[in-house]
Amino acid sequence: MATTKPRTLPLPKRGLNFEMFMWLFTRLSALGMYALILFAIIGALVMGARNQMNLADVMRWGFMPSNTHVQSTDVPDLAPWATPFWRLTASALLLLAVAHGVHGLVVIADDYIDTARGRLIVRYISIVMMISMSLIGLYVLWTS
């Protein structure tokens, strides 16, 4: 009996289409979010969170390093937590999370919508949602 050949084509023959790109983006953005969250937590510890915040507060800061997330803690001065540096970190995390999340919603919707027209409509809605949520999130981060 002949050995069965692998049914998947090697990457150069398959090419990198949009779906393949988003598949890869989903994995890489997950790792990127892990890195950013770890980075924010380390940053909090460097800024003295060890004595001024409990673990839940540090996690809250880690998941979105916005200064509004440290308002209810014992941190005496919010200024070092509201620098452009942390706003940029938070913006990067927000944009990754929105893109990752909205694409995830599209993947789920694709599984349950029967018609090609329906899937196309969902794609348009998702583009609008992705752009609007990114802009609203950036507005909140940079004006808080």
């Binding site: 994995r27 890489l28 892990y34 839940a56 995830g104 919603l105 789920i108 609203i136």
Partner: protein
């Protein structure tokens, strides 16, 4: 062109995919839960006022916190497994073991967090 499915919903619900299927379903539920929560959370801080306060009271409730922590923790741990296995396909043979490791990490962290959330809510 519409999709042709030869299985009914009842058959789909009876499908026993076991461990990997369970992680797949929970990953979806977790992802959906987080997408809804984060959308609500961003809108609440954007709108402020009465709507913002109302949304705050919803997600500050301890039941909601347990639910959202389940979503976040499971999605994060399972997502890490998926990323590692997909980016290094040779590891796919260890997928069942990886799922056991995943539960071994998830259950202690989740139980401790639930204990802390409930004891904080109880005062």
């Amino acid at each position: 062109m519409s999709l042709k499915r030869n299985v009914s919903l009842a058959t789909g619900l009876r499908y026993r995919g076991q461990g990997p299927m369970l992680t797949f379903v929970l990953h979806r539920i977790g992802g959906l839960g987080m997408a809804i929560f984060i959308t609500m959370h961003i809108l609440a801080s954007f709108l402020g006022g009465q709507i913002g306060v109302f949304l705050n009271t919803v997600y500050e409730h301890w039941l909601f916190q347990i639910f959202i922590f389940f979503c976040v923790l499971f999605h994060a741990i399972n997502g890490l497994r998926i990323s590692i296995i997909d980016l290094f396909p040779k590891l796919l043979v260890h997928q069942r073991e990886a799922i056991w490791v995943e539960w071994a990490v998830f259950i202690p962290l989740f139980v401790i967090a639930v204990f802390v959330i409930i004891s904080t809510a109880g005062g």
